[in-house]
Subunit: 149 residues, 2 copies
């Protein structure tokens, strides 16, 4: 059999995250939801993906508690897909992906989009990793241990 391997039971949080949101379309849907998309048609038009795929992804996202269905904001009988708190919490991941993409996947001068502070309109600061005592940490300054909680 060639069933896609599941990492749901891994003890590594990264694996479990990837199991849920480690899919191109899934992440693009969340991105669009963060930018304000709410309706099936909005996602479909924005992403240009096949409707059956979109339907499957949206269903999975709702099941995983990242999106939830609620009555359409425009008063129609349709429903809106809106991010839950769990879905909104994906924001830092999105920012990290965005910054890496900006750094390594664009030629200088190539048109792109940037994330700005809504209040000032200025580009946001880069994500930084800090130790508990506030020291700036780089790659190599961290390691993984199994939690003894």
């Amino acid at each position: 059999m060639a069933k896609r391997t599941s990492l749901k039971d891994s003890t590594c949080p990264v694996a479990r995250s990837m199991e849920v949101i480690g899919d191109c379309w899934t992440m693009m849907i969340i991105r669009d939801a963060m930018l304000g998309a709410r309706r099936f048609g909005e996602f479909q038009k924005s992403l240009g993906l096949a409707k059956n795929i979109l339907a499957v992804r949206l269903k999975a996202l709702v099941e995983d508690g990242i999106l939830k269905l609620e009555p359409a904001a425009d008063g129609s009988a349709y429903q809106d897909y809106v991010l839950t708190e769990k879905g909104q919490a994906v924001h830092p991941i999105m920012v990290a992906l965005r910054q890496w993409g900006e750094d390594y996947a664009f030629k200088p001068g190539e048109p792109t989009t940037i994330m700005v502070d809504r209040k000032t309109g200025k580009q946001i600061k880069r994500l930084e990793l800090h130790a508990a005592d506030g020291r700036l940490l780089g790659y190599g300054d961290t390691t993984i241990v199994s939690s003894t909680a």
Copy 2:
């Protein structure tokens, strides 16, 4: 035809990042590389994935400049897969994925692994998003604009 859709030319950095590292196994390989894995066999044993899949993924990672091949550190005729600077730069994404997974994919008390400061052994601080002026930003405090650079 049912070729997997490519997002390589999207103007959204998130899309381009996902195109490269938005794959479960790919991210797991990078994770293991960050934890010190260097050899084909190490990745294969740690991840338990089929060797053909691993071979394809490793080749892609080398082509994308995330891993590079260098003579084995143990002096043998084999080669090591080691992270490039671009590969090391994935670290913040890994941390963001890890924190989200910790928060939403584990029951309290469930065994997991945590990331610690190598010097102090203490758990690292959560990633925070800041504005250019230092203000802490939450979900909803940011927006996307097309770069006019």
